[in-house]
Amino acid sequence: MIWAICKNTWNQCLASRVRLGILCLVWIAPILQNTISLCVQHVFPEALYSQSNSVALLVLIVGSGCIGSQLNDGTLSLTLSRPLTVAQYVMSKWFAVFVASSVAALSQLAAEVLVSLTRTPALINPADVLTNGAERVILCVGLSAVLILLSSLVSGVKDLAFFLVLSMVASLCVGIGQLKVDDVPAGWPQLAVSVLCPVCYHIGQAGNFILGPMVDLSSLANIPWSVVASYFAVIATFLSLAIFSLNRRELPYGAE
């Protein structure tokens, strides 16, 4: 781990006011929503603590362009002129992104617990809070690896657009996979749907898992080993691919 690169990544994140502003908005939105439900509308929110969607947004905001922006302004070649390998650089970037996003996600959970403590103390279950916190960290670690690969492939913050396009493709695949054979005219369209739909469905499901790698901790004793293996496979594969692609890339010495 190279601390200088980690610090540089955090500074890079804090330097952009737009990014900070969006981060604050995404950070506070679920807390506000729960507070309004509890204090103004006097309605219990569907979930006391925000779910993976808002955590994923935090990771995307913190980590987008972490390598791409250095590719864009040509500072990556300068960084790599020091005695460090691409692997160390990628690992440091990954560490910096998941630590920063985990801090944001855990502080968001802490704020949500505080709101619940004041309004619905009886509903707070320490085991739920711990599980939610651990799941947040797991998502941050996994999604950071995905974002590192995307950021190493494109310059600037295009990795964000790349991620959104991939998410839409995965959702589309799941949507196509849910088509029912009866809804399609008989003959070759029905045959095509019956063959393609299961394939699309599984591709979409795999895509959704890859773009938000998670391990459900609600039943610790019954976590399937395949899910744990898939989670670590996503992290290892995406980091390997990021290193592999950067190693074979011609790095520019100036702004692209």
Partner: protein, 342 residues
């Protein structure tokens, strides 16, 4: 001179690549295995197929517990592993029910098998997971029969026994007690038998199975009517007695017969009229295995649909009312039948 170890900036971490490859292979194999063996944890429960359960239920007269699930449904998998993985719950299910895990495959395969489609329709399954208990004598019944309103009688019996009566004695504010009672009843209805929808914790499942057990142990209501034995009838179906005889034919389950029990037998107005002016006789017909005596009586009075009411007057032809009769129409029918005697 010793040469310092040189590591290229573009050094490939081969160990990481190999680890990633091994993990990817493991993940693919694991997911393929999961796909082919979706049961996973719930090994404690002896699941049957729909057809096996049907045969066994009819033989042993035990209710069938359908657990409607889907491979893509996370809460279903969680419930199957957490709740059905518990030994006490598994024992209760194995002892009292014939459990069937009905997996919806409409998303993976485009459509379900006809047996799954029929069972989902019968239990009115709109979301997963859903638990539904179907008594052995309603295995062929439609959705309305399975969710019969006749169970309101049993529900009220249970609701009446909810522990808020003591609150009146303790001097608690009446409005508070009333609100709490309402909430208790609502809570009871939310977990209504025979269906239980949504993710359930082990405690929810225990509570649901407890309620189902009560439901199955309570016999259908006979109401407030003083039923007597069947009088002797002559060859033309006329009674030997001088007072009018009312014979009510009801099935042991099913929505129409349950409605009749509620609207006629439980109602004060109709029950007092029947008790005062008639000799009431109840003929309960088993929906699944009707007795020879019941079949013969139905044939004798040419009854085409159950429930039915027959009024027998001395020296007159039997007056027959087929099908469900509401309280209003039952009163009209009875008054007209009894007036004709006067």
């Amino acid at each position: 001179m010793a040469q310092s170890e040189f590591v290229s900036t573009k050094h490939d971490p081969k160990m990481l690549y190999v680890t990633a490859l091994i993990l990817t292979v493991l993940a693919v194999v694991g997911n393929l295995l999961d796909e082919n063996h979706p049961e996973g944890a719930p090994k404690l429960i002896k699941w049957r197929t729909i057809s096996q359960a049907r045969v066994e239920s009819l033989q042993k007269h035990k209710p069938v517990l359908y657990v409607f699930s889907a491979n893509w449904c996370g809460p279903c998998k969680r419930m199957e592993s957490i709740a059905f993985g518990r030994r006490d719950i598994a024992n209760t299910i194995n002892k009292n029910y014939i459990p069937v895990l009905v997996i919806d495959e409409s998303q993976e395969r485009g459509k379900n098998t006809p047996a799954v489609q029929k069972t989902q329709k019968q239990c009115n399954v709109n979301s997963f997971p859903t638990l539904c208990v179907v008594p052995w004598n309603l295995l062929d019944a439609d959705v309305e029969d399975v969710f019969s309103t006749g169970n309101e009688i049993e529900r009220n019996l249970i609701a009446r026994n909810l522990p808020y009566a003591e609150a009146f004695e303790s001097g608690e504010d009446k409005d508070d007690v009333s609100e709490r009672a309402t909430m208790d009843v609502l809570d009871y209805y939310r977990n209504r038998v025979p269906a239980h929808v949504g993710y359930s914790t082990p405690d929810d499942i225990s509570e649901y199975l407890f309620q189902c057990n009560i439901w199955h142990r309570l016999p259908p209501s006979k109401g407030k009517i003083h039923w007597g034995p069947m009088p002797t009838l002559d060859a033309s179906g006329k009674p030997a007695t001088q007072s009018p005889v009312l014979i009510a034919f009801v099935e042991d389950c099913g929505v129409l017969s349950d409605k009749m029990r509620l609207s006629l037998f439980e109602n004060d107005e109709t029950s007092s009229l029947i008790n005062r002016d008639c000799k009431p006789v109840l003929v309960e017909v088993s929906k699944q295995e009707p007795s020879q005596e019941a079949i013969a009586l139905k044939k004798r009075f040419a009854i085409s649909a159950l429930p039915a009411i027959v009024v027998l007057l001395p020296n007159e032809k039997p007056i027959v009312q087929d099908g469900f009769t509401s309280k209003k129409h039952a009163l009209q029918f009875l008054n007209r039948a009894l007036q004709s005697r006067k």
